[in-house]
């Protein structure tokens, strides 16, 4: 006779919902070290997202465009409000600001090359502008951050647009962090810091506070650049309706809204998971702010924070964004969380290196360690060789190309000759939460919660 199944024993082991193994692990770690966890990437928890929306394709009441034969434009112009030289892009998908320091110089170069090939822009980060990224990027957005590391007048003049960073979706209200293992001689020099310090940047700008000051600061940047370059203002998504209005009043040409799913190279986990609102809610508020001010299409909106697919891009555009910015997605295109890397003509397993960090491909968020197993977020001379700029550029180009093809596929299916013609009327929500946050009707109804 077969042995009876012994599940009565397991049945008695009931895991607590409030004190599950994850929480226990957290408490045990906190009690052992007296220090919070710092990690990379973005929020891991499930929040209402673009996945909770679907498009209403064309049918009898609308007619579709032929997938490969009929034209569907993706050209995108940003910074038309005051700048005499707006940014013209071939696609509405840009590369988000990420620092040299967080990323290696090879990665910055790969991103620049891919962006240039695709006719889009790339962005500096909290560490100044590198020679590699300026040379490889046709269109480079230069961030002006609270730390002002490496922020200098020559690079201001070299940039194609300036992005004043107020906050970041992963940590609205917090400054940057770069742990000592990544502050190598070159990074230290660019940031005017001693080598190897655990760098914690300021969370507020040194020379202005509040929206009235920001107005004058923006004017200063315009005067310095002779009113040629667009000035972007980037905010982490929190009180987005008010923040966007204030940024418009302060004179921004372009607003960048970064939702809580946005990534970071190193931030406290508690900050990543518990501060900020989902991108879905932020886009709706940002668009509402522009509409209430009658500034839609005068001030452009870039949305970032968890944009992964062509569908995400299409949904952001349909909700009213002019473009999106992608950070984590392009890092993953470069091999982040891949089980192997390509070097010297062969594929090599990275699994052991992930294990040495206490993680595995698919689960890694260890950018802060500087020991990225695939050579993406590292300043280590050996590890950074794992990412060849030419190979990386090809992967990012392929990724952006795929997204753009998916975007135009959806736009054509909705009968649009231009991806910027996608509109809210094309979207419905699958969940009540998403319907409420996005302000879109629940599928099959005309019900928008709260309206």
């Amino acid at each position: 006779m077969n042995k009876p199944v012994e599940f009565h024993k397991c049945m008695q082991l009931e895991e607590s919902w409030g004190y599950d193994r994850k929480t226990l692990d957290y408490i045990h770690n906190a009690s052992a070290h007296g220090l919070y966890e710092i990690r990379g990437l973005g929020a891991k928890r499930r929040v209402p997202h673009f996945d909770d929306l679907v498009f209403l394709g064309a049918s009898l009441s609308r007619y579709a465009l032929e997938g490969y034969r009929e034209r569907c434009d993706t050209r995108t112009v940003l910074g038309t409000r005051f700048a005499s030289k707006p940014i013209e892009l071939a696609i509405p998908i840009t590369i988000a600001g990420m620092s040299f320091g967080a990323l290696s110089a090879n990665v910055k170069e790969a991103l620049g090359r891919a962006a240039t090939d695709m006719g889009t822009s790339t962005t500096t980060g909290d560490g100044g502008m590198t020679r590699e990224e300026r040379q490889s990027s046709k269109t480079l957005i230069y961030q002006c951050l609270p730390s002002r590391y490496g922020f200098n007048p020559d690079d201001v003049r070299r940039a194609d647009a300036i992005e004043v960073v107020i906050g970041q979706g992963a940590k609205p209200g917090g400054g940057g962090m770069l742990l000592g293992q990544k502050v190598n001689p070159r990074v230290a020099k660019m940031r005017t810091l001693p080598e190897g310090v655990d760098q914690r940047s300021a969370c507020r700008h040194p020379d202005w506070t509040g929206p009235d000051d920001l107005t004058i600061k923006i004017q200063e940047l315009r005067e310095i650049t002779d009113w040629e370059k667009p000035i972007y203002v980037k905010v982490g998504a929190t009180r987005t309706l008010h923040d966007v209005k204030l940024a418009v009043h302060a004179g921004a040409d372009v607003i960048v809204v970064d939702g809580m799913q946005g990534g970071t190279a190193a931030t406290q986990t508690v900050f990543i998971e518990h501060v900020g609102i989902p991108t879905l809610a932020a886009v709706r508020q940002a668009v509402q702010a522009l509409e209430e001010l009658n500034m839609k299409d005068t001030v452009q909106l870039i949305v970032s924070g968890g944009i992964r697919t062509g569908a995400d891009v299409a949904k952001a555009l349909a909700m009213g964004a002019d473009a999106v910015a992608i950070g984590q997605g392009v890092l993953m295109a470069l091999g982040c969380n891949h089980d192997s890397y390509f070097q010297n003509g062969a594929q090599h397993s990275a699994v052991e290196d992930y294990a040495a960090l206490g993680t595995a491909p698919g689960y890694c968020h260890h950018c802060h360690t500087g020991k990225c197993p695939v050579g993406v977020t590292t300043q280590d001379a050996v590890l950074e060789q794992r990412l060849d700029p030419a190979v990386g550029a090809r992967h990012v180009r392929n990724y952006l190309k795929t997204l753009n093809m998916e975007l135009t596929t959806i736009a054509r299916a909705c009968g649009k000759q231009d991806v910027h013609h996608l509109e809210r009327e094309d979207l419905v929500a699958l969940t009540v939460e998403a319907a409420a946050m996005a302000g879109q009707p629940l599928a099959g109804t005309d019900w928008v919660p709260g309206r």
């Binding site: 007048p153 810091l193 040194p206 202005w208 310095i224």
Partner: protein, 239 residues
């Protein structure tokens, strides 16, 4: 060319005058960026607290501002020698990388913020956060400075001939402060250190460049304890 014609050229190729009571700021800054063509001196009349006067200049020109300036006077300066015959608003000389700015009166908050180089001299007092995030600039203040001066200062020298407020040098990196008067309190990680011969020589040279006659031996040196350089669980965030 239009701006050149609008500028009242005193002596062609040597000096020009802009009157901000009648000419827009844009004309002045455009002239300073693009049309200097050998002009060595520019006078700015009736600044009347205007913001962003002479920002982003990148030429060895003398700019004299005859009165008070608003925010960011001489911001992101390179090479130019800018004299403000009055007081200045917030962020005078912010982000400058070379050249010199001389404020004859008082300076508001965040003077020399995040600047990489050059010399900023303030004859009077400077308000809060003087030298915040400084990255290599030398700042000499003839009077006193407000609270949280040299906050997160990374490199360069801040000389205070008068007194300092609360939190002096909070979260200092490698910038050095010399202070002659009293210090209300030091910020986290800042402390007083003995003056060396090298300090006295460097300070003497700076005071001379700033046209101040104090004896460098009457100053004290404030620098970082470097206790916040590394993430430390035992620090208990008591700072």
């Amino acid at each position: 060319m239009a701006s050149l014609m609008n500028a009242m050229v005193d002596t062609p190729a040597i000096g020009a005058t802009f009157d901000l009571a009648t000419q827009p700021l844009r004309e002045l800054n455009r002239f300073l960026h693009r049309d200097l063509a050998g002009t060595r001196a520019v006078r700015v009349l009736n600044p009347d607290g205007a913001h962003n006067i002479a920002v982003g200049v990148d030429a060895p020109v003398d700019v004299d501002i005859d009165g008070h300036a608003g925010y960011y006077a001489g911001g992101m300066n390179k090479q130019a020698h800018i004299t403000i015959h009055g007081n200045t608003g917030p962020g005078v000389g912010e982000g400058m990388s070379s050249g010199a700015i001389h404020v004859k009166g008082f300076a508001s908050v965040a003077a020399g913020a995040s600047a990489h180089g050059g010399l900023l001299v303030i004859d009077g007092d400077a308000s809060l956060r003087c030298g915040i995030s400084m990255k290599g600039i030398d700042i000499v203040v003839g009077g006193s400075v407000g609270d949280y001066s040299a906050f997160m200062a990374q490199a360069g020298t801040l000389v205070i001939c008068g007194d300092a407020g609360d939190g002096l040098g909070d979260s200092l990196y490698e910038a050095v402060i010399y202070v002659r008067g009293s210090v209300k309190s030091f910020g986290a990680d800042a402390h007083e250190e003995p003056m060396s011969e090298a300090d006295i020589a460097a300070l003497g040279a700076l005071l001379k460049a700033a046209g101040m006659s104090h004896d460098p031996k009457t100053f004290r040196r404030v620098a970082s304890m470097r206790g916040l350089y590394h993430w430390n669980a035992d620090a208990n965030q008591e700072y």
